[in-house]
């Protein structure tokens, strides 16, 4: 059992990785630390459950296939104790109904192996900061861009921008997670509510349409492409 020593700053999160593949776990721990987070590792289900209940974590990353106690049982045990820590389930069984059973067991998100680290990082960060409660806000603001979730109005610098319903939801999701990287898969899942793998990158075209609407007449870009990962909504300063 290894507890990391560090002094978490505001943006940093404490993450527990429960994964039996030692090398993959070490890689995740190292990469998460490089991304500025605190990461611990548990090698089996029992140890993972013990660690998750003895310390407060912002996010748990749980592999589905674990020795001693399988991943879904760990999740179910935690939910049984009214522990609401966001959980990302990892699995090599990324097919058909596995996602549904994983989410039903109490997982918050599901990621299929193998995945790009950037995908995991983006999801972990969104899950961890989700507790900030941005669902309560009715108006999202990024720079001079404003999105009113109730009246469905979008303005930039006071000028109204007309968006299609789907474009509105796309922008809403991006602005809700402003300052965080969101991946193409996350957009497909959350804006379109589909989890399949489109053979071509359909999301990019939607982004570039949206971008042309919110940035065409303005100097400062707000919607940035993060190479190899996805997109981020933020002001440059």
């Amino acid at each position: 059992m290894v507890f990391a020593e560090s002094k978490p700053d505001l943006a940093s999160m404490r993450i527990l990785i429960i994964e039996d593949d030692h090398e993959a776990a070490q890689y995740l721990v190292k990469a998460l630390r490089e991304a500025g987070h605190v990461a611990d590792h548990a090698g089996d289900g029992d140890e993972g459950l013990f660690m998750a209940t003895s310390r407060a974590y912002d996010v748990l990353v749980v592999d589905r296939m674990l020795p001693k106690k399988d991943g879904l049982s760990v999740v179910a045990a935690l939910r049984g104790r009214s522990d609401t820590t966001p959980i990302l389930i990892l699995s090599a069984l990324g097919q058909v109904d596995d996602r549904v059973t994983g989410l039903r067991a109490g997982g918050d998100d599901y990621l299929t192996k193998p995945f790009a680290f950037s995908e995991l990082l983006a999801r972990v960060e969104v899950l961890g900061r989700r507790r900030g409660g941005s669902d309560i806000e009715t108006v999202y603001r990024v720079g001079d861009l404003e999105l009113d979730r109730l009246s469905h109005e979008v303005r930039r610098g006071g000028k109204p921008i007309v968006l299609q319903p789907r474009e509105f939801r796309l922008l809403e999701y991006l602005m809700k997670h402003a300052g965080q990287v969101v991946t193409r898969t996350m957009l497909l899942e959350n804006v379109w509510d589909y989890h399949f793998d489109p053979q071509t990158n359909v999301i990019d075209v939607h982004i570039s349409r949206l971008r042309s609407k919110i940035e065409r007449d303005f100097d400062k870009p707000l919607l940035h492409t993060v190479r190899g990962s996805g997109y981020i909504m933020r002001t440059d300063d």
Partner: protein, 496 residues
């Protein structure tokens, strides 16, 4: 009849229809027909023979009497003849007698009138003619008879005949018997169908219900065995053993799939992660960086092919109740069209939603969207019409309890002899494999259609390709109703 007890009129009609479709019933119908024809032939033969016998008996009797009367005429002359005829005419059950003078006037006998022209003939008249007996009222019964007519030396005509009423009565009797026998045979055959056929049909129904459940993916189900040891039991027994073997093989296949997923995808993750980590350390735009990026790209492609393969075998493995929800298929069509429309536009193509009838069915929303996405993707990649932009039309039609999801393009289409083959794994029309693609897209579409109990039909859109997913519409229970109003994000939020 017995069947009407268990299902009312409509149920009975339905069962009768089902019965009429049974091979055994058809076979017995053929036998019934055959027996009826044989019986008819037999009856006709018997009837004809009997008629002949009756006729020849009549002829014999007539010629005996002619001989007899001839003797009297020889002995007693015309007076004796007339007296004899007058006496014989009045006897009960008498033959027909008629003596006329050369002008045709009646001198003696019991015949009042005759069919015209009979008396002009001479000798034995074998085809029956009509006559009326003396003393009967006008319009009374007209009888049929055979007779012999002799011309006496003095020019008088003597007719002696016999009534054919016996033969007619015999014919009528035979006719009634035949009708009765046929009715009896039909009723018997019908009863046999209903009793034997219904039992067989019930067992076959049970067997087909069980096999429908098995085909839907539940390989643990077995066909019913009654223990009677009859041919149905033997068939069920063999099929059950076949099923056990399939289940064993499939379990093996599933285990291999899972092992591949777990044991090969994990090192693949590591490979990709290492390349990604190295990418993070290396400075911008060096050959090493480009190589690493290329490596990640290749790994991703490998993973994608791998995923597609695994996905196909998972989908083929059968029914997954967890992912089936009751949704409006038109909504899936609209969603996918909306998702792909900008991409199509960028590729210079036009993606339109054609006619969409409302269809609610229990399906896997994800898999159907995946299938449509694969089809649109294929059309964008391969359609390439001879002139003008690519045009892709999505439509949804409904036919009774089936619906057809179609993707139609205006490209070159697929030659008829290749249409079956493109559904195979790794088969590609483009033999040089110069275009990107794994050759798995349509196989996955096929597997998805089969999972839903449907099939993929490739057709000609003249010009162009029409790919149709023909799916049965399945009803869903309220419990599976998907809550569409909730935004995706909120569904996954736990109260904090």
């Amino acid at each position: 009849m017995a069947a009407s007890a268990d299902g009312g009129r409509r149920g009975f009609g339905k069962r009768l229809k089902a019965l009429s479709r049974m091979a055994a019933v058809r076979l017995s119908a053929v036998f019934l027909l055959l027996f009826a024809v044989f019986a008819l032939v037999l009856v006709v033969y018997v009837n004809a023979t009997a008629s002949n016998i009756l006729l020849s008996q009549s002829r014999q009797a007539i010629s005996d009497e002619i001989e007899d009367i001839d003797g009297i005429y020889q002995a007693a002359g015309i007076i004796g003849l007339v007296q004899t005829i007058a006496v014989r005419s009045r006897q009960p059950g008498a033959s027909l007698y008629l003596l006329t003078d050369p002008l045709g006037r009646i001198l003696a006998g019991n015949v009042q009138s005759l069919a015209a022209g009979v008396l002009d003939r001479e000798g034995y008249i074998s085809e029956p003619f009509f006559y009326q007996r003396f003393g009967e009222k006008d319009g009374g019964q007209i009888h049929r008879a055979v007779a012999q007519i002799e011309e006496l030396p003095n020019g008088m005509h003597l007719l002696i005949g016999r009534d054919q009423g016996d033969e007619e009565r015999f014919n009528a009797l035979v006719k009634r018997t035949v009708i009765f026998a046929l009715a009896l045979m039909t009723a018997g055959a019908l009863a046999a169908w209903l009793l034997v056929g219904r039992r067989a049909l019930r067992r076959i129904d049970r067997m087909s219900e069980a096999s429908a459940r098995i085909m839907a993916g539940d390989l643990s189900e077995r066909l019913p065995v009654t223990g009677a040891g009859d041919e149905f039991d033997r068939l069920s027994d063999n099929l059950n053993r076949l099923l056990a073997r399939i289940a064993l093989l499939q379990e093996g296949q599933r285990q291999v799939s899972d092992s591949i997923a777990h044991d090969l995808k994990t090192p693949l993750t590591r490979l990709r992660n290492r390349a990604e980590a190295a990418l993070g350390d290396s400075p911008e735009s060096t050959p090493q960086r480009a190589a690493l990026e290329g490596m990640i790209g290749e790994a991703d492609q490998m993973i994608r092919t791998f995923d597609a393969l695994l996905m196909i075998s998972r989908v083929e493995a059968g029914f997954h109740p967890a992912m089936m929800t009751r949704v409006d298929l038109g909504e899936i069509v609209a969603d996918v069209a909306e998702l792909y429309e900008p991409l199509a536009e960028e590729a210079g193509a036009k993606l339109v939603v054609g006619e969409c009838e409302p269809v609610m069915s229990e399906v896997s929303r994800e898999l159907l969207a995946q299938a449509l996405s694969n089809l649109i993707d294929n059309a964008l990649k391969y359609a390439q019409p001879a002139e003008g932009p690519t045009r892709i039309t999505l439509s949804l039609a409904r036919q009774d309890d089936h619906c057809q999801l179609s993707v139609v393009d205006n490209g070159a289409g697929i030659p008829e002899d290749k249409r079956e083959r493109v559904l195979e794994r790794f088969f590609r029309l483009d033999q040089s494999r110069s275009k990107p693609g794994s050759g798995l897209g349509l196989s996955l579409v096929q597997a998805i259609a089969q999972l839903h109990g449907g099939r993929v039909v490739l057709g000609d859109a003249g010009p162009g390709l029409r790919i149709t997913l023909d799916l049965p519409i399945r009803g869903g229970t309220e419990a599976h109703e998907r809550k569409r109003d909730e935004p995706a994000e909120d569904r996954r939020t736990h109260p904090s």
